[in-house]
Symmetry: C2
Amino acid sequence: MSSDKITIHDIARILNVDSSTVSRALNNSPRVTEKTKNRIIAKAQELGYQRNDLASNLRKNKTNTLGVIVPRISRHFFSSAIAGIEETAYNLGYNVIICQSLEQLEREQNTVNTLLANRVEGVLVSISMETKNYEHFEGLRKRKIPFVFFDRHLNVPETSSVLIDDFQAGFDATEHLIIKGCKKIAHFSGPMDLEIYKNRFAGYKAALLKHHIKFNDELIFNSRLMEQDGIENADKIIGLPYKVDGIFSANDVAAISALQQLKRNDFKIPEDIAIVGFSNEAISAVIEPSLTTINQPGFNIGKRAAELLISQISGNNGSVIDEKIIIQANLVERDSSQKNQGNK
Amino acid sequence: MSSDKITIHDIARILNVDSSTVSRALNNSPRVTEKTKNRIIAKAQELGYQRNDLASNLRKNKTNTLGVIVPRISRHFFSSAIAGIEETAYNLGYNVIICQSLEQLEREQNTVNTLLANRVEGVLVSISMETKNYEHFEGLRKRKIPFVFFDRHLNVPETSSVLIDDFQAGFDATEHLIIKGCKKIAHFSGPMDLEIYKNRFAGYKAALLKHHIKFNDELIFNSRLMEQDGIENADKIIGLPYKVDGIFSANDVAAISALQQLKRNDFKIPEDIAIVGFSNEAISAVIEPSLTTINQPGFNIGKRAAELLISQISGNNGSVIDEKIIIQANLVERDSSQKNQGNK
DNA sequence: AATAAAAATACAATCGATTGTATTTTATGT
DNA sequence: ACATAAAATACAATCGATTGTATTTTTATT
């Protein structure tokens, strides 16, 4: 009946055994006879006993819990990554606490403290756009709690991360535009404190260099790559005294809003301006024209990151671990970049 | 330095006070002098003390934690709802544990147990497509842990839920098609164990009735409304000996894949067949033609559900609570249903 | 039947914080 | 300076489970 707060002590009292025996029986310890084990399990079931993990974890000094910090759950890349994390965690018997920073440094700091207070055994982080340094992760380091950056990371030594090769991807995206015949290629970049944006930008520059296209500072547009930013960038491009014929945007959100804004201003995509985005959001496949972009396999990144983290938790050999896993990110060619190549 | 596992007892020993004083100081109790409070807080900071919430929660018998169970985090509606839940929870000082059922009953049952073991104080649930009854939630009821269904719910008495008016929305969607001139309207329905699909279907039938259109069983397509289902439904419609001129799909996913399949088979949307979906996924706005659909305000639903749950937790007056909140869901008219009305 | 060895169970400390009660310290008034 | 009230702090039990050690019970051996 009233299965309100049944403890092992209640069961012990009823069956006239010690609570330690109940504990061992429920944990299937070989130290308890099959017969009493069955009695105890039956009674526990009858009373609707449910272990108190707070007490258990406190005593064992082990929580089997991972923390995850992402900027925003509702972004498709992150929810996919979380799905991958969850999958791995679930299979290996870990729980997951998910926190959002909402791109705010202060909330990111708070979540680290919450996770510490909850004694998570490891943390997976993709940092906010406001995060410029490492400080608030020091607490994890001090307490020897392993953590792994995925995607949005800080370039600190002795830290593991699961990333895509943003330089290569940026290079590929830009070279693709060049091959399609673009000469004046703009780049929408994100906050330069974030490694991913630095690297995508570097890839862009390297591709220009390789193909002997002069780098032009005026064609670099810095923003937080939100929807509004894409629109504003598009307006700036329209206002330029010369013709831009390609855009490589460091994310899809800005690429798409720019694409729509350009369409509204009677630019033909890709004939007038070819566009390549980054992330392969779900929208990108169905927008018209469909958006050429870099596919970031979120689920897979989350999966690998969780695997790496759990392996570090398990083999806690005190030594500092610094492992980088690079996941393949591939260009998905769609319509927004299929420019007529030359005029034969 | 080694802030590994600093406890209030460590601080107490160092400062030559009792651990109870340390506890009270850190919790800003008026029973401790400002002077010692400051000493203690300073020392705690110096040592990098971080409260162990496991111990604290165990003792207080209060976790300030909510559980959330959704079918799939990566579905936009759910991640939006979670964002709304998080927002409310964060503001009111609650933590949130998020679990996915992945549409599997077994996993849903497991998550309930996990949440119980973690002593959450309330649970927000949107059930899986396999969930047909209430059993596995009985444990919550027994332990007097309030829970609130949102969106996908079971129709059990003495249970609170935050829903949209699926009947009305189904009615509106169907009537909209009728007004646009459709005479033979197919309906893609989901598992009939779920109230939401029952109600959307009922709304569909009511609209037909009102406008004197005969209900035709052949035009009802039951499935789990996945991408593949939409394609198959479209094929079946194509194969019918008579012409279908409208589709009301109980979700956007199936509506969109059907739309694309029909396009591939040279049907003109909306001229040949008008389509209305349900949920207003992000894709629906950018697909061509853009999809008319019912907007379900996920963030808002999550927010309201969390508020309702927390109010029930706070006012735990033992009495059973049965509160239904109906959130407005509105038709978003887009291109997929703008059929030529008559031929004047 | 006596004794050793093995098996089953009981005892008791512990994890880290909280909190009601008891004790010590400080302040107040005469 | 002394009694008393008030303030500050210390003591000790508690939350519920786990686990090393001690004790009791059973089994095996001669």
